[in-house]
């Protein structure tokens, strides 16, 4: 028997494969395909204090082995999410992590205060890296001082496991990671999308309604993997790796690069069974190669084992 269990900042997961925020709604769409307890943890769509209508279409542009998205954090606001979406996830048998985003520090703090007492919420993922909103969002994630201050303030407002999701659009991801670790992050998620664009040469205009969007999918895997490799050697808190994971082999690359857990985003759109398929594949790899505990593989590529 292989042991796929992992503990991320006190969140006990049956396996290391989570959903990536924004790519899994609030779980119900994929619950039609498989039981959610097959996943390690469920991270919901980015939530803001007030409802957001999102960006004007088109919001998606496909690129070679990737997609640009500019959803713009469309969501019904935190109160609605707690009232209408979370109840359905109770008893789903998987830890629920709420991804939060804001324009101002104040907004983050308000949300954290609202979420802190809720038993149905196992952890918080703080998005300081969304490239698709005008204010805040990515700006928090590209300067280590701003990122550190935000995390410090949030930390003081909650005792829930606190995951901080970083932007990859920076010169030195290690610096930002160190700053948020120092200010109390329990885990670090890497990476959010890379800022990109596509142009429609017939209309002579950007394809996306929002002009720019965030690149995800297999195209970014080499870049995300490099950042996981760098950060996991730099910090002590666990790293959740993501960016282009489509298969168990991809997930294993991230784990060997140092990720304690992984998240799957874009792959869900292509194969709705991605998450359970990846869980199964990791187990099979371990059996074939005589590993019984996932931690034997975590960081193996730099631990040199």
């Amino acid at each position: 028997m292989v042991d796929l269990r992992v503990d991320i900042a006190g969140i006990n997961m049956n396996n290391p494969v989570m959903s990536a925020s924004g790519c899994f709604g609030y779980g119900k769409e994929y619950a039609a395909f498989y039981k959610l307890k097959e996943m390690g943890a469920l991270v919901v769509k980015g939530t803001t204090l007030e409802p957001r209508e999102g960006n004007s279409p088109p919001r998606i542009a496909e690129t070679p082995a990737g997609i640009l998205n500019a959803v713009g954090l469309q969501n019904p606001g935190i109160d609605y999410v707690i009232r209408e979406e979370l109840p359905a996830l109770q008893g789903a048998g998987t830890p629920v992590i709420i991804n939060i985003a804001g324009n101002l520090e104040e907004e983050y703090i308000k949300m954290v205060r609202i979420l802190d007492p809720l038993e149905e919420v196992q952890g918080l993922e703080v998005n300081i890296s969304c490239p698709n909103v005008k204010l805040g969002g990515m700006a928090f994630g590209t300067d280590q001082k701003v990122a550190g201050n935000l995390v410090k303030a949030i930390r003081s407002a909650t005792s829930k496991p606190l995951i901080v999701k970083l932007s990859p659009n920076v010169t030195d991801i290690k610096e930002v990671a160190r700053a948020v670790e120092e200010e109390g992050a329990d885990a670090i998620s890497l990476v959010n999308t890379f800022l990109g664009m596509a142009i429609d040469i017939h209309r002579k205009k950007p394809v996306l309604g929002n002009l720019m969007g965030g690149l995800s999918g297999p195209a970014i895997k080499p870049l995300a993997l490099r950042m996981v490799w760098q950060v996991s050697q730099e910090v002590k808190v666990p790293v959740i790796g993501m960016g282009g994971i489509m298969t168990a082999e991809d997930a294993l690359e991230f784990i060997m690069a140092g990720a304690r857990a992984v998240a799957v985003g874009t792959a869900n759109f292509v194969n709705p069974y991605s998450i359970p398929d990846i869980v199964k594949g990791i187990g099979e790899f371990m059996v074939e190669n005589n590993y019984d505990n996932l931690l034997q593989l975590t960081g193996a590529a730099w631990r040199g084992v």
Partner: protein, 265 residues
Amino acid sequence: MSMLKKAQIIEHEKKGPGIYRMDFFSPEISQKALPGQFIHLKVREEGYHPLLRRPFSIYDVDKDRGQVSILYRVVGLGTHIMAQILPGALMEIMGPLGRPFTLSKEAERVLLVAGGMGFAPLHFLIKELVKGNQVVEVITGARTGEELMGEDDLGRSGVKYSVATQDGSRGFQGRVTGLLEKKLDEGNYDFLYSCGPYPMLEKVVSLASTLGLKGEVSLEEVMACGVGACLGCAAPTRGDKGNLDYKKVCQEGPVFSLEEVFFDG
């Protein structure tokens, strides 16, 4: 809910310039499918380019044979690759997906307006509508007579139809919305269905609303997940309070009522 299955391509036929019909063997989908719904196809089994699935309206269904068909136009990489796939091959299809057309029983005279490829979802609807007692009329438009779609199928359905071509090579000369204006002047319809490019739909909706005519349109937006999980396919609609409200074409659509749709240019 929706299924994910490998389905065999039974037939694959060229129907016009860059236009193909593909028939799948999929008893499950053929049983469940309703007019206006779509399937989400994985174009290539291997490799990540193209990456996403591709949505196509259900064009036809043959429950007895367990057959589901699409009609598609080659526009980019995905459809280009599709056009080269041989019958006998398997393709992974997901569906049926999306909100179907309402088969309004009260309406006595129904008009369907198709622009170009917009004919695809309407054809399946026509086949269902003609089973009822309503008067069903169809108008379809294309740039040229050669590009007019599905005339053989329309003929077979027995429905009354007229065509518009921009080059005047067939039927009414001009856009299908020109023909629509004429029709609305002459006839007295109580329900309208339409599908086509946005500029055409905008015109259709404005003509219908002037007359207070009820109806539904099928919209298109680029999709990622196809099941409502990513919010990628948002189309602007009018919310309860007249506010802008982005709705998911894949799940809350692709069919929307005429009152809901909203065009911001």
